[in-house]
Symmetry: C3
Subunit: 261 residues, 3 copies
């Protein structure tokens, strides 16, 4: 049984290793796979975006354990969400919400309260080790979800920038920047295609205009910018063999406009 891990714990300390130790102590047959642990500390929207872009590539039945938890020790809930194909475990602070909107259907949301499945004692600072890792470990042993707590009906949404659509303009934002400096927007391929139809268009980003969307980084000359649908199926601004973040001095939230011409 696969348990994926997505956290902002980094790889400098022992947080991730210890969580795996706890999981393997409960289920020696569990197989942990790191999605990433280098989410910027407390960056809920970055984590939510990567989870949404990752979960479906794992075998059905996988457990996705997500811990970005700036308010650990407060009254935010810990939850298990069973969906059509996966089980998600994490704090109910919005970090799961983008994946849950795209998961093909939620079956149950459980508010985790049964301390029988926690480490003893539970610290107030490291629920990853004391609550979430053991719960994921027991879930991977097929303990029924209702054992962990009561069903609830709602989960928390993230408050993210939304794509704005007028008759002639679609306006989005940079919502993620990857290691290669590719600038990923919240404009999804389908939304853009529906807007443009067969019309001519131009994409504006900072001082640069694009009149087409390329198929491949290699279609621009080396060092030149291009617009492309990246591997996440969102509109990206990139540089062939270069770094668009540096080229454009770009930041999260920067605006991208698609206009009809």
């Amino acid at each position: 049984m696969i348990i994926t891990l997505l956290t902002d714990f980094g790889l400098e300390d022992n947080f991730v290793g210890v969580m795996k130790g706890v999981i393997l102590g409960i289920n020696p047959g569990a197989k942990t796979v790191d999605i990433t642990h280098n989410i910027k500390p407390h960056d809920l929207s970055g984590a939510a975006f990567l989870l949404r872009s990752s979960f479906r590539f794992f075998p059905k039945g996988s457990i996705h354990l997500v811990i970005v938890d700036p308010t650990v020790g407060s009254k935010r809930k810990a939850v298990i969400v069973e969906t059509k194909d996966y089980v998600f475990v994490g704090p109910d602070n919005g970090v799961l919400s983008l994946a849950l909107k795209n998961c093909g259907g939620i079956k149950r949301i459980i508010h985790i309260t049964n301390s029988k499945y926690f480490l003893t004692p539970v610290s107030n600072t490291f629920h990853g080790r004391d609550i979430f890792a053991p719960v994921a470990g027991y879930l991977s042993k097929r303990i029924p979800l209702e054992k962990f707590g009561k069903e609830i009906k709602q989960y928390k949404q993230l408050d993210l920038p939304e794509v704005k659509l007028t008759k002639n303009k679609l306006t989005g934002n940079i919502i993620y920047i990857d290691r290669f400096g590719n600038l990923i927007t919240n404009i999804e391929k389908e939304k853009l295609h529906n807007f443009i139809g067969k019309d001519k268009f131009k994409i504006e980003f900072k001082e640069v205009n694009f009149d087409k969307i390329d198929d491949s980084y290699a279609h621009a000359d080396r060092g030149n910018p291009l617009a492309i649908f990246g591997s996440f199926n969102n509109l990206e601004i990139s540089i062939n063999q270069g770094n668009a973040k540096e080229y454009f001095q770009a930041e999260y939230g920067d605006m991208v406009k698609v206009g009809k011409v």
Copy 2:
């Protein structure tokens, strides 16, 4: 059989991957788990602290392989230490010592000398690959410890700052700073409780005084400092949703005083 890895090899080069290759070549059924590889190069005390804070969270019987080895190729010994619940493997330079003091009892210390269990030839620069990884691999196949070398009686201690206790004051130091910037002291919960009893106290760190120890990061206002017993059970200075290292311009060794008032 689980083999944990704790090193200062980093993840930029191929050191860690190659060690895992060597282990799996000897025991294809071994399961390696990284504690961390981002110990600051040659930082024995950081590694010793993380090992001490990690080892007990793994299933009994796990092999803990620790390599921070600034004097590789010198006459420092390579050792296996069998304790009540775990087996430790590493250089005898103090890096194991904090864990061994807290391990519940040492059974045997073996000075590794039997080159039958080494790669051939042994380099003078990478004993992790040539000696420690293969020894851990063979240990995970339950080769008896006495095959690896002769028993010895002592292991090397680290020379670390100690908590100082006078009638009215307990003085400790920052001994670890984690990725979130939490400042972890060498003052353990039990020691502090024994000192304070039911008296009033204040904790001094740089220009800030604390008159209580919080239960949770969330008990301070966002961006405000607090004192807390962190997940390692040591007194920590933290900032709710912030970075105490930056806030205080703190460094390893900085003093923390607990005084009766």
Copy 3:
């Protein structure tokens, strides 16, 4: 079956995790091992050097999946190379070439074209996920190589600095710098021994001369430079317990001369 991964994808994003998800979806029994993912973006020669220095430490039969792919989406081929003891998978852009020269014999090179073994649809930006990971997954299930495409005869070579040899001088270059700041040259042990024979020699690097090659870092005083054959069997310039990159302000390509005296 072991699948090693060597990429420039970094560990900040979800690229590596997603590839492992794809592999495990195809072969739940596959065991992935990271060599490194922190190759400098698009650094073919760094990746080629680490692959050459790593592959032989894994069990025979392992599949080595290498993805440093600056021209993804262009016409560069995707290949499988079957050698005496291993199978290599990656883009045919030279990144495999140093390993292949040292692999003990190539049996077959297959140009990957059969989209039956790809994810659908194939993006133009992330062949790691859509082509290479699934191909490695199917290879680990022992799908015969000829199913993936047609045999070809050649693979691309890297254009790397070569060691220059005159009667009295051997001139090489720094080709890799590891996390400890050790400066690794392209001068291999055997080549240097053949050149020197029993003559006296001196090694020049920047303003420093060495008249011997040490056995161990510990043979120099702490903080002092030395020449050594490192764990890769190449001549290295190092500092005992220090950082030669910083000490010498060294960079890739810097020249190292070995002269007879």
